[in-house]
């Protein structure tokens, strides 16, 4: 399988990464190199094989469903580029 230029632009959009028109052919080449590298997986017989979901089989530990911290809004927003009164600021989303 290989990707065309429109697909490269669609992937970039899905990944939320701005890509200029000039970058597209180069990216297309790199993505196709990777896709042709992984093509060999098609020759493996995977019939009846379960896909791996956990590399170390174990029962997940659970804790009581209760609040364990809080009142740390200052810390939570401490690294944000733009905040006001402990809110994250972004450009207007809904007109």
């Amino acid at each position: 399988m290989s990707v065309d230029q429109a697909t490269v632009q669609r992937i970039a959009r899905l990944a939320r990464i701005a890509v200029t028109d000039e970058e597209v052919p180069h990216l297309q080449g790199e993505l196709n190199a990777m896709l042709s590298f992984v093509e060999q997986l098609n020759s493996v017989n995977v019939e009846g094989v379960e896909p791996m979901t956990s590399v170390t089989p174990m029962a997940m530990k659970k804790r009581v469903d209760e609040v364990t911290d809080g009142n740390i809004a200052e810390i939570v927003t401490g690294n944000a580029p733009q905040t006001e009164d402990h809110y994250f600021l972004v450009p207007k989303v809904i007109e």
Partner: protein, 506 residues
């Protein structure tokens, strides 16, 4: 006392305990060495104030006889580990201003045991790379002299494009370079496809990638969560065993960390390996593998045999598919993990006309080329219509890879011996061509271990005909790191510890 930086971690620990040296002296010796080695770019942040305060506190504890397991031992910390109040960037432009409000579980365990933080170590951006060249801070340079280059010539090249000098490997390139250059006694590292073992092999140092779940991943910048595991790089097998004891253990904040007692790994050093069965997987004899790697491998097997182990040929039939399957699973998980870098909650923001524009510009500006490439491939293989063909198929192949190892272990094999890398270290800029796959092939022997969640140890075992370090890899059963330490010690003793390079950079 001669140069304190040439001590091993174990030797320094014993000298501290015997009060032959002080923690402050030891830390200062390393801070001085770091100052003279800035051009190697192994550290992306020095924290001398921090280090000296911690060392002084250690001296007090040592005086009172309250020393922890790593009391006064100066360490370098890979910049993927969150350190409270100390900038943590994952060597990405997108996190250049990030100062965590919390400490990673593993580093808090190290500080609990008395270790001293010297600074933060260079790595490939978000741990994606095998040469440390994708770091936003520029590559870290291997302290190993390239073939036919004199100390004076190398020094002239240093910082001057670094062309003609060697990569330390990656992604934990700064960790390996700092150990080999004697800029710390132990370093933390992480391994998603070989990022602890490959740089260790390239620099003549020892790297231990523990079983998935052995060490907590909490507070470590995530790359591919089902493959990532943190571990140490150090000068000797014993030193990595000492560090792992402090790093390992259950953490309620990481649900994939395993609740299992942490053994005294150091006790495994020097244990007899008599009667152990060591598997040699024939599929690792890949096309185009150099004669010297093959010879080193046979020599390693011979050493283990002489120490009483039994060598058997085994088959791991799906080995060949591990690398392509990895390049579906790892980018897929990376694309999901790195979705958090949105320029809203933390990190560097580039303004946009609306929220989507802000995201797209922030991420295009903040991520380097390798990271962007992997996010895009991951996005593609997870997108509607391709998920089953790529991601689910890769996860099925992962099951087959794990079953290969299980069959070998069920047949009585205690550990597997392989080369660590297909070649010795290459030059800076040598593999940054158009085809990313060329770089990925570096991980061909290490990536299976991550796919199967197993522990792996890289031990220096000799040098190439040009004099560059070469390593062997030992792969164990889940949670059987101890056997690897016992076997690794045998190889280290037989090969003779690699002589670390003279400080040509200073």
């Amino acid at each position: 006392m001669t140069d304190l930086t040439s001590l091993t971690l174990a030797e320094a620990r014993d000298a501290l305990k015997a009060k032959k040296i002080s923690a402050l002296e030891l830390t200062d010796a390393h801070l001085n060495a770091m100052e003279k080695a800035k051009a190697l770019n192994a550290y992306v942040l020095d924290t001398p104030k921090h280090a000296r305060a911690m060392a002084k506190a250690s001296d007090t504890k040592l005086q009172k006889g309250e020393a922890g397991l790593l009391e006064g031992i100066p360490l370098g910390i890979k910049d993927l580990y969150a350190t409270k109040g100390v900038r943590t960037t994952a060597c990405s432009k997108i996190l250049l201003n990030f100062v965590p409000e919390y400490e990673s579980t593993v580093t808090s365990k190290l500080w609990r045991d008395g270790a001293v933080m010297l600074g933060k170590l260079n790595n490939d951006e978000f741990a994606m790379g095998s040469s440390n060249e994708s770091s936003a801070f520029g590559p870290s340079v291997s302290p190993i002299l390239p073939p036919n280059v004199s100390a004076a010539q190398a020094k002239a090249k240093l910082g001057n494009c670094n062309k003609g000098l060697l990569v330390p490997g990656g992604s934990s390139g700064g960790s390996a370079a700092a150990i080999a250059a004697r800029l710390c006694l132990g370093a933390t590292a992480t391994d998603t496809g070989g990022s602890i073992r490959q740089p260790a092999a390239f620099t003549g140092t020892v790297g231990m990638k523990p079983t998935y779940g052995r060490c907590s991943r909490w507070g470590i910048v995530a790359f591919a969560s089902s493959l990532d595991q943190d571990g140490p790089i150090a000068k000797t097998v014993r030193d990595t065993a000492i560090m792992l004891r402090s790093m390992a253990g259950h953490d309620p904040k990481d649900t994939t960390s395993v609740d299992r007692a942490v053994p005294d790994y150091e006790a495994a050093i020097g244990k007899s390996i008599k009667g152990m069965k060591i598997g040699i997987p024939k599929e690792y004899r890949v096309d185009g593998m150099s004669q010297e790697i093959d010879a080193l491998w046979s020599k390693g097997a011979e050493w283990l045999k002489q120490a009483g182990a039994e060598i058997v040929e085994i088959s791991l039939p799906h080995t060949h598919y591990a690398l392509p399957a990895y390049y579906i699973v790892a980018p897929a998980e990376a694309s999901s993990n790195l979705a958090r870098y949105d320029g809203v909650r933390y990190g560097v923001r580039v303004p946009g006309k609306d929220i989507i524009d802000l995201y797209e510009k922030t991420r295009a500006n903040g991520f380097g080329v390798e990271v962007r490439r992997r996010i895009m491939i991951g996005t593609y293989v997870l997108s509607a219509g391709y998920y089953d063909a790529y991601y689910v198929r890769a996860q099925k192949i992962r099951t087959l890879i794990k079953q290969d190892f299980e069959k070998a272990y069920d047949s009585g094999v205690d550990a597997v011996l392989t080369p660590a890398t297909p070649s010795p270290a290459f030059g800076i800029g040598e593999k940054s061509g158009a085809d990313p796959v060329e770089m990925y092939l570096n991980d061909i022997f290490t990536v299976t271990v991550n796919m199967a969640g197993l522990p792996g140890l890289a031990v220096p075992a000799g040098v190439s005909k040009e004099g560059l370090p070469l390593g062997l890899q030992l792969i164990g059963r889940p949670f059987d790191e101890e056997i690897l330490f016992s076997l690794g010690e045998v190889i280290e003793q037989a090969a003779g510890r690699t002589k670390l390079p003279d400080a040509w950079w200073a």
